[in-house]
């Protein structure tokens, strides 16, 4: 049954993404994990869309892409803001001047 393979693959991707979010410390990597989860869901949608022959799954996939994009935008904005603040609190400059 070929459908099962799509779903199994999607679940594996989903699990990898989920574990990434939980385990990794870097926010950018976590963001990538989230994207992976969303896209694994997309895979399921499209697989089912083919099987059932209805289009709403593909429509949903489109929406998910948009939302994923929006999430990336906001995530990046937050990461940049935090990165700026944190870099500022470091005393990098002093270290740099030492050597």
């Amino acid at each position: 049954m070929s459908l099962m393979w799509y779903i199994v693959l999607a679940f594996i991707l989903f699990a990898i993404g989920g574990v990434t979010v939980v385990v990794r410390k870097s926010t950018i990597i976590q963001l990538m994990g989230v994207e992976m989860m969303l896209n694994s869901a997309n895979l399921v949608f499209i697989a089912f869309s083919r099987i059932h022959g209805t289009m709403s799954g593909q429509v949903m996939a489109f929406f998910v892409m948009v939302v994923a994009a929006a999430e990336v935008v906001i995530g990046l904005a937050l990461i940049v803001a935090i990165f700026k603040s944190r870099a500022n609190t470091d005393v990098d400059d002093i270290v740099t001047l030492k050597h």
Binding site: M65, A69, A70, A77, A87, D90, D92
Partner: protein, 120 residues
């Protein structure tokens, strides 16, 4: 061959092999004289400075462009299917698409007016 993607796969395989082959050929044909200085990063002959990304002083404008791009890229992605089935979707599709374009234009106007796209 009715599936149009099989030829594309063949093309991809060929292209990939050629690109790897070129690299392999030069590796085999070229001389090999290792040298510590030669393997250093290029910076006009002085000791290379640390990579800028690591001290967090990368111009934030690049991120802004990236974010704006994502928004507009998504817009374009939506416009493609609409454009292709323009005739089928009828006036409803046209009006919807125009509203969509208008809504995407609002952030562009906002960004322009607030000089988010100024690089000076």
């Amino acid at each position: 061959m009715t599936n149009p993607y099989v030829p594309l796969l063949i093309m991809a395989a060929v292209a990939f092999l050629v690109s790897l082959g070129g690299l392999g050929a030069s590796a085999i044909l070229g001389p090999r004289q290792k040298n510590r200085v030669k393997a250093q990063n290029y910076e006009c002959g002085i000791d290379p400075s640390p990579v800028h990304l690591e001290d967090g002083r990368f111009p934030v404008k690049y991120y802004l462009v990236a974010m704006t791009f994502i928004v507009f890229d998504v817009e374009v992605v939506f416009l493609y299917p609409w454009a292709v089935s323009f005739g089928l979707l009828g006036p409803f599709g046209l009006i919807t698409a125009l509203v969509f374009i208008a809504l995407i234009t609002v952030p562009l106007i906002y960004e322009l007016r607030r000089e988010g796209l100024e690089w000076t």
